[in-house]
Amino acid sequence: MIYLTRKAEFSASHYYHNPEFTPEENRRVFGKCNNPNGHGHNYTLEVTVKGEVDPRSGFVVDLKQLKEIMHREVLDAMDHRFLNKEVPEFFNRIPTTENLAISIWQRLATKLERAQLHRIRVYETPDLFVDFYGEE
């Protein structure tokens, strides 16, 4: 078993708001992130896949294909977007970094061919990241 990690960056805006909370509760729980005009981050995404090395090619996964899948499924959908308003899974789900990692896992897991998805890591800032390994 060998592991490969590919990084990518994207920038997006979001805000945190739960319509089931009162305005006070939203402000208390989400603080500054509750500003309805949104705010942005430069996200760093790390996609780790695992599998056996193909003896002919020496590759665990076709990196070009992985890059294309990451671009198509994640970056094209999220880069320079307002997550709450432009990315369907966040119309009704709060675009926290936790939910972003889960959503990216769901977007990629079924699209990979040879290798298996191992981990999604999303950095919201250099000081904060979330890891998701799929449903345990």
């Binding site: 592991y3 490969l4 090619s57 020496g58």
Partner: protein, 140 residues
């Protein structure tokens, strides 16, 4: 008390990804730009993780001087500023970073015994990295 230590080293090398058993077209399709017959290079970063009990007298898992001198002698001298395709281990084995990562792990496993080898992580570029732990699962 078990602890883990990771040390990072840098080296630069060139390679060409090409398999003699594949046709010209298949090589081009599989390896793209990396199939350029003149080769190309990378600045690799390798992270070696070892583990062990912390020695009560020294406060160390193993002496870093021992790890550094082993890596310098057996890995950096071997791969730094070299063309990987010229080395015997890549005569029939394509020098992808997957295979290089496995080679480095095996060199350490064969020769470095002061601490338990957990795994090797090899960065090919800022965006790509590979990890190998002898075929088993890596630590999350």
């Amino acid at each position: 008390m078990k602890a883990y230590l990771t040390r990072r080293y840098l080296f630069s090398a060139s390679h060409r990804l090409h398999n003699d058993k594949m046709s010209k077209e298949e090589n081009r399709n599989t390896y793209g730009k990396c199939n350029n017959p003149h080769g190309h290079g990378h600045n690799y970063a390798v992270e070696v993780t070892v583990s062990g009990a912390v020695d009560e007298r020294t406060g160390m898992i193993c002496n870093l001087v021992d790890l550094d001198s082993f890596v310098e002698r057996e890995i950096l001298t071997r791969y730094d500023v070299e063309n990987l395709n010229m080395l015997p281990e890549f005569e029939t084995n394509v020098p992808t970073t997957e295979n290089l990562c496995i080679q480095i792990f095996e060199i350490l496993q064969r020769g470095f015994h002061p601490a338990h080898l957990e795994g090797v992580r090899l960065e090919e570029t800022m965006l790509n990295s590979f990890e190998y732990a002898g075929g088993g699962e890596i630590l999350k």
